[in-house]
């Protein structure tokens, strides 16, 4: 099992957000997590990535069989965990190209691999950027500064393509995207699907799952997985809404 979340309880500022969440993901699979606002979807993404302020009070997260609760965010990243942010952060003055290279080399170093040579790096970045319709000018601009919503999300997928994670968590990557950008981003994700790599796709809407077709769909409500099914579950939800699960969980 690539990822095992066991009975996870999480609080922020004393408020309980996740209440005994269980989830297991095999490599090569795409899991969608759907749920209403405030059900704990983003919290799950942040806790996996190791964001400060989130206190795990019970349970465990195993990545490749190893508990990651005591690992720093960068240590988790180096082990192959990637989070595509719902709201990507701006870093003024740092060129996107520099950022990509610094991140890639930091992860390689942490894994005991050598730095990528400049020509190799440039070749890889140009190839990955081209597929996402990201031009050279955008790579020279500061990370996410002055980027449109669509550019920010494409930039997240570019980083994912460069860092080649084992598990990628996409936190509402569809939010704020028009249909064309949605297609570009989805195709970017689909190209990265492989037997070694798994995805957690967090979304409100079924729409994204027309493009990124999941193997498993989970419904999250009040901090727990309340229903698990195949890709047809997403269509069911689209028709009936989340109301029934909110009362079931209560």
């Amino acid at each position: 099992m690539l990822l095992e979340i066991k009975n996870l309880h999480v609080e922020i500022d004393g408020k309980k957000i996740l209440n005994g969440l269980d989830l297991a993901i095999e490599q090569g699979k795409v899991h969608a997590i759907m749920g209403p606002n405030g059900s704990g979807k983003s919290t799950l993404a942040y806790v996996l990535a190791g964001k400060e302020d989130y206190a795990v009070t019970e349970g465990d997260i195993l990545f490749n069989g190893e508990s990651v609760l005591d690992l720093d965010p960068d240590e988790r990243a180096a082990r192959g965990l990637f989070l595509a942010f719902q709201y990507p952060i701006e870093i003024p003055g740092v060129a996107t190209m520099t950022f990509l290279r610094t991140a890639l080399n930091a992860q390689r170093k942490a894994r005991g691999e050598g730095e990528l040579s400049t020509p190799d790096f440039l070749k890889r970045v140009r190839e990955a950027a081209g597929k996402l319709e990201i031009n050279q000018d955008m790579l020279r601009r500061a990370v996410n500064v002055g980027f449109s919503g669509g550019e920010k999300k494409r930039n997240e997928i570019l980083q994912m393509a460069m860092l080649e994670p084992r598990l990628a968590v996409l936190d509402e990557t569809d939010s704020g995207l028009d249909i064309d950008a949605l297609k570009i981003v989805s195709e970017g994700v689909n190209r990265l699907r492989s037997p070694e790599r798994a995805f957690i796709v967090i979304t409100h809407y079924q729409r994204l799952l027309d493009y990124i077709v999941p193997d498993v769909v989970h419904v999250l409500s009040r901090g727990r997985i309340v229903k698990t099914g195949g890709k047809e579950l997403a269509l069911e939800l689209e028709a009936s809404g989340y109301a029934q699960y909110q009362s079931e969980a209560a």
């Binding site: 302020d53 942010f85 740092v94 610094t102 930091a106 942490a110 860092l163």
Partner: protein, 495 residues
Amino acid sequence: MPAVQETVEQVRRIDVDQYKYGFETPIESEKAPKGLSEDIVRFISEKKNEPQWMLDWRLDAYRRWLTMREPAWARVSYPKIDFQNIYYYAAPKKFKAPKSLDEVDPEILRTYEKLGIPLREQEILAGVVREDGSTPSKVAVDAVFDSVSVATTFKEELKKAGVIFMPISEALREHPELVRRYIGTVVPVTDNFYATLNSAVFSDGSFVYVPAGVRCPMELSTYFRINEKNTGQFERTLIIADKGSYVSYLEGCTAPQRDENQLHAAVVELITLDDAEIKYSTVQNWYPGDSEGRGGVYNFVTKRGDCRGRNAKISWTQVETGSAITWKYPSCILRGDNSRGEFYSIAISNGHQQVDSGTKMIHLGKNTTSRIISKGIAAGKSQNTYRGLVSAHRKATGARNFTNCDSLLVGDKCGAHTVPYIEARNSSAVFEHEATTSKISADMLFYCRQRGLSAEEATALVVNGFVKDVLQQLPMEFAVEAQKLISISLEGSVG
């Protein structure tokens, strides 16, 4: 541990205790007796075989200094300095001006190697062509070891171009008329307490004269280093760019680690005539004191440039990461019509450092322009103040200034302050001032760390982004060095 908290913890430990350049070179040195008197002033002048007028000038400065008081307006605090408890002159012993690097004490050369200035390589490397066909840019180094310039490289090549680049003590003997014409004309003997002290006891420094129409064929560089215990270092630098000439000058500074404070009171004077340009860059990483705030260098420096001719230009770029206390305002007097002054600054304070730095742009001529970009980063328990003056004289029609001061706070025990003075006596002057203060955000650090950067790497990356506008102003080799220095002074990691 939350990332910001962690950063704060790191900054508290900062290194300060791990100062990378904290080693001492065991060289016997020849010192004047401790303390200051007319006899000491005479001693220094005599050691340097100076002409009578120079001695008189020094004595005049000394007598004035006795009547002056230390300035107290800066936002810095330190115990009273005992000026009688300082050595005013220290020269490596058995010093005879070397004819070439071979005559230089190998111990001294090793010190420079540790500092990373490849004095010896500089000469060998000249003319080397790299694999990609480019040639390494040349840098001529005038190294000041305590009070005496030990070696001057590239002298020959500069001579061909007609550029004079030598220790000021030597210039006093070989080109006394030039020194006499310009010294003290930008920073007068009476200017301020520390400049006056410097005028009395300055030991050495660099002298540059670029003749009319000459573009100096290489970057000139001085590497200052304070080695001897209790030695004040009082360099005096004088750079003259004659009509239509250009020179870029780099200054780098380090000092070994010590418990007691070392005083450094330098004076730098720049003069540009018609259509001439001087670009003066400083990277300063003097010992900032330990994590308890003990020791460290007091850097009380007067730097001023005079755009004396039409279309003259002076540009100051500084990266300041060291010293316990910095009191420094590299300024431009824009006297010639259409002249231009620039000030680009990165000041990083950490531990218990106190920085009070900025610039003065004095617009006297018509259509003079100036630009100030200042980036202050305060971390640890440090205090970081930008203090600047922009003024337009009555006759400075069409004067323009643009000022941008940004401050970045790392942690919650430091302070950033901005004190701009703006005086326009001419109604056509246009002065713009922008200022921001921000805190390094936890979200930014988390984003970087999620991509694999350690907390230290993330902080360094964000700070390097913050100071990018200024780093771009530095000559290439210096920019790389400065970037490393920024990481070192923020990380607390050595190497």
